[in-house]
C-alpha cells in the first residue's frame, strides 16, 4: 500500500513539475509567438488555400528576418481544413488546444471560418482572414459583430456591388442574367447582392439559372439565357464551374458581356475552350503591376518557388492577413494576449497592404475603405486591369 501511495505521489510531483515547466516557457517574454494558419490545402478550394498558406508563411519569414514582433520571433503552424467545417473545427482545436497559438490566420473561404465565430470569442483568439461572407464577422440574426473575427478585404456584397456598378455605369448594361450554383455559399453570397443592386438601380433581371455540384452540362441553362435577351451575365462560382459556364454560354451563341468573381483570374483564360472576349471580373490587386505595393514581387516569388504557372491572388491574402495581425501585435504590451491584440486590430487605420491600398477596419470588423479592381483579358489572353470601383 505504501509503495502504491509513494508512486502516486511521485507521479503527481512529476506532473506538477512538467506543468510548472510549461508555464515558465509560456510566460517567457522572449519565447517565440505561436500563430496558427488554417487553409484549404486540399479539397475543393486548394487552388486558393495553397497560395494563401504560402503567403502567410512567407510574411512570417520576412517579419522574422526584420526582427520579428519587437524582437520576438513568430512561429506559424499551418493546418489543412479542406474547405470542410468539421475539419476546420479539428484544426482550430489542435492549434488552440494542443499547440497553444495565440492568433490564427484564416482561410479565404467562409465555410470553415463561419464555424469559429463562437469559439474564437470563448478562447479570445483573434482570427484574421479573407472569409468574405458577412456571416463570418457579423451575427446575421442580431447584427452584432463577432469580437475576434476580422476581414481584410471588401465583403461579398461589397464586391458584388462594385462589379454591378461597373457593369451598369462603365459597360452600359441593363438586362442581366445570372448562372450559378445556389449550393455554393461563395456564389450565393455574391449573386444575391449583385441581383439586388442591379434591380435597385432600375435594371432588369431577365434570367436566373442554376446548376448543382454534380452537373457537368449547362447548355440548357445557357440556351435560356440566350433566349432571354440578356446583355450581361454574372458568374460567381469556383474556377471549374466558371469554365463550364463560360463555354456553355459561348457555345449556345451568347456573344454579350460576361462578368464574374475573382475566380475568373488566370488560369481561366488558358483553360476555357472558347475565345475569351468581353469578360470583366473582380480582382483584389493589380498583381502584374510592379509599381503598386509589393504584390507583384510576392506573386513572382511564389511562382518561382512553387512552379505555379500563373500569378495567384491568394498569395497577397495570406501576406496581408499576417501583416494586419503583426501590426497589432507590435503595438500590444503582450502580443500573446488575444483580447488586447483583437482590440488593436479593430483600431487598424490606413494600414498599407500588399496591393498598395490602405485598410481601415470598421465597426463590423470589415473594411469600407477598400474597393475592387476590375480586370479583363486582352487579345493575347493576358489579364489587364481596366478600372477600380468602390461603391459607397
Amino acid at each position: 500500500m505504501k509503495r502504491v501511495l509513494t508512486m502516486v505521489i511521485a507521479m503527481m510531483a512529476i506532473s506538477l513539475a512538467l506543468f510548472a515547466g510549461g508555464s515558465a516557457e509560456e510566460s517567457d517574454p522572449n519565447a517565440p509567438i505561436k500563430i496558427g494558419s488554417i487553409q484549404d490545402l486540399s479539397g475543393s478550394a486548394s487552388n486558393a488555400g495553397q497560395p494563401n498558406a504560402w503567403g502567410a508563411e512567407y510574411a512570417v519569414k520576412v517579419i522574422n528576418e526584420n526582427g520579428g514582433i519587437n524582437g520576438r520571433m513568430l512561429e506559424i503552424y499551418t493546418e489543412d481544413c479542406k474547405n470542410d467545417i468539421t475539419e476546420g473545427l479539428n484544426c482550430y482545436n489542435r492549434l488552440v488546444g494542443e499547440i497553444g497559438v495565440c492568433a490564427i490566420i484564416g482561410p479565404a473561404l467562409s465555410n470553415p471560418a463561419s464555424a469559429w465565430v463562437e469559439l474564437s470569442a470563448e478562447d479570445e483568439i483573434p482570427i484574421v482572414g479573407h472569409f468574405m461572407d458577412e456571416v463570418c464577422t457579423t451575427n446575421p440574426d442580431t447584427g452584432e459583430t463577432y469580437p475576434f473575427m476580422f476581414l481584410c478585404e471588401p465583403s461579398c456584397s461589397q464586391q458584388a456591388e462594385d462589379l454591378a456598378e461597373y457593369a451598369i455605369r462603365e459597360l452600359g448594361k441593363s438586362r442581366f442574367a445570372v448562372l450559378y450554383n445556389p449550393s455554393n455559399a461563395f456564389a450565393k453570397a455574391q449573386v444575391d447582392p449583385f441581383v439586388a443592386y442591379v434591380q435597385e438601380r432600375g435594371c432588369e433581371l431577365v434570367a436566373s439559372e442554376t446548376f448543382g455540384w454534380s452537373d457537368k452540362d449547362y447548355s440548357a441553362q445557357a440556351l435560356k439565357i440566350v433566349a432571354s435577351g440578356a446583355d450581361c451575365v454574372f458568374l460567381g462560382d469556383y474556377l471549374a464551374q466558371m469554365l463550364i459556364a463560360y463555354d456553355a454560354l459561348r457555345d449556345a451563341g451568347y456573344t454579350g458581356t460576361i462578368v464574374g468573381a475573382n475566380t475568373m483570374a488566370p488560369p481561366f483564360a488558358d483553360q476555357v475552350k472558347n475565345d475569351v472576349y468581353d469578360v470583366y471580373f473582380l480582382q483584389n490587386y493589380d498583381m502584374l503591376n510592379p509599381d503598386v505595393g509589393n504584390i507583384n514581387e510576392l506573386v513572382t516569388k511564389h511562382m518561382e518557388e512553387t512552379g505555379t504557372t500563373s500569378p495567384q491572388v491568394n498569395v497577397g491574402f495570406g501576406w496581408d492577413a499576417v501583416m494586419v495581425l503583426a501590426e497589432a501585435m507590435k503595438k500590444a504590451e503582450d502580443p500573446t494576449n488575444g483580447a488586447e491584440v483583437a482590440e488593436l486590430i479593430s483600431q487598424t487605420t490606413d494600414l498599407e497592404l500588399s496591393g498598395g491600398i490602405t485598410l481601415t477596419i470598421n465597426e463590423q470588423h470589415r473594411t469600407d475603405t477598400m474597393g475592387m479592381y476590375i480586370a479583363t483579358y486582352d487579345e493575347n489572353g493576358e489579364m489587364i486591369i481596366v478600372g477600380y470601383e468602390k461603391v459607397d
Binding site: 487552388n47 440548357a220 469554365l243 488558358d270
Partner: protein, 293 residues
C-alpha cells in the same frame, strides 16, 4: 429551340453512353456494379493529360486516346489482379466485388486529390472554333466528336459481343460461367477480357471527358452516377439497353432542365430510376442480365 435541345441532349447522352457501357459490360459477366470505373476514368483523364503535356507540340487526339486506352487496359488488369482475382478464386459473394470496387474508386480519387489537388487541368484546345452552324442551330464540335467516337466504339463492341465467337463466349460466361467451363470456354480469360474492355472504355472516356469538362480527381465519380442510372434503366448488364437509356436520359435531362430548372433535374432522374425499378425492373432491354447479355 426544340431541335437545339434535342441535339444537345443526344450529345449529353453520348457521354452517358460511354460510361454506362463500361459499367454494363462488367455487370453482364460478373454481376456487380463496378464503381471503380469512375475512378479509372479520372485516372485515365490524368494519364491522357500528362501524355499530351509531355510533348512540346501535342500529338493528335486520336494518338492520346489510343495511348490512354492502352494504359486503361493495363490499369484495369492491375486492379483485377490486386482486387478481384482473389475474390473470384474464393468464389466470394458479389457483395465483395461491390465493396472492392467502391474502395478502389475512393482510393483512386483520394490519391489523385493528394497528388494533383482539386485544381482543374485543361487539355489543349482541339478546335479553333468550338461550334459550327447547322442552319439556325449551333452544334458543338467537341460534342460531335464525342458522339462519333462513342458510336464507332459502341458499334464495334456490339459487333464483338453479338457477331463473333469471342462474343459468344462472353455471353455464355455471362449466363453461366461453370457450364461454360465444361463446354471448353476459359471463363477466367473471358473475365480478363471484360476488364480489359472496361479499361479501354475508361481510357476513351477519360480523354474525351477531360477534353470536354477539364481534368480533376472527381471527374469520373460525378459522371459515374449518371452512367449507373442509365445502365439500370437500360437493364443491368444489357449493352444495348444501357446505350438506349443513356441517350434517352440525356435528352430528357436537357428538356427537363430547360423547362423546370437544373435543381429539380436530379429529382426527376432518380424518380425515373425508381419508376423503372417498381414498374419494369428488367429495364428497357426487357431481360435480366443473368439471362442474356
Amino acid at each position: 429551340m426544340l431541335l437545339q435541345l434535342l441535339i444537345n441532349g443526344i450529345s449529353l447522352g453520348a457521354v452517358y453512353a460511354l460510361i454506362a457501357v463500361g459499367f454494363a459490360i462488367v455487370f453482364s459477366v460478373l454481376k456487380f456494379s463496378n464503381f471503380a470505373h469512375g475512378g479509372m476514368i479520372s485516372a485515365c483523364a490524368f494519364i491522357g493529360y500528362f501524355f499530351q503535356a509531355s510533348f512540346e507540340s501535342p500529338p493528335p487526339i486520336i494518338v492520346t486516346i489510343a495511348v490512354t486506352s492502352a494504359a486503361g487496359v493495363l490499369f484495369a488488369l492491375f486492379l483485377d489482379a490486386i482486387a478481384y482475382r482473389s475474390i473470384r478464386r474464393h468464389r466470394s459473394p458479389s457483395i465483395y466485388y461491390f465493396l472492392a470496387s467502391l474502395t478502389i474508386s475512393i482510393l483512386i480519387t483520394s490519391l489523385l486529390n493528394i497528388f494533383f489537388s482539386k485544381n482543374a487541368l485543361a487539355y489543349p484546345m482541339l478546335f479553333s472554333s468550338t461550334t459550327f452552324d447547322l442552319g439556325s442551330l449551333k452544334v458543338s464540335r467537341m460534342d460531335m466528336m464525342i458522339l462519333a467516337v462513342s458510336v464507332v466504339i459502341l458499334a464495334a463492341l456490339m459487333l464483338l459481343i453479338n457477331k463473333t465467337k469471342i462474343g459468344l463466349a462472353v455471353r455464355a460466361v455471362a449466363i453461366n460461367p461453370d457450364t461454360s467451363k465444361l463446354m471448353g470456354i476459359d471463363s477466367g480469360a473471358i473475365i480478363v477480357l471484360i476488364f480489359s474492355i472496361a479499361g479501354f472504355l475508361a481510357g476513351v472516356s477519360g480523354v474525351l471527358l477531360g477534353c470536354k469538362y477539364g481534368v480533376y480527381p472527381d471527374l469520373g465519380q460525378t459522371m459515374m452516377v449518371k452512367g449507373f442510372i442509365a445502365s439500370l434503366i437500360g437493364g443491368l448488364g444489357s449493352l444495348g439497353g444501357a446505350i438506349a437509356a443513356a441517350f434517352i436520359l440525356g435528352v430528357i435531362e436537357m428538356f427537363w432542365t430547360f423547362g423546370f430548372g437544373a435543381l429539380s433535374t436530379p429529382v426527376m432522374t432518380f424518380v425515373l430510376m425508381l419508376l423503372f425499378l417498381f414498374i419494369r425492373p428488367q429495364g428497357i432491354a426487357g431481360q435480366f442480365a443473368k439471362e442474356k447479355v
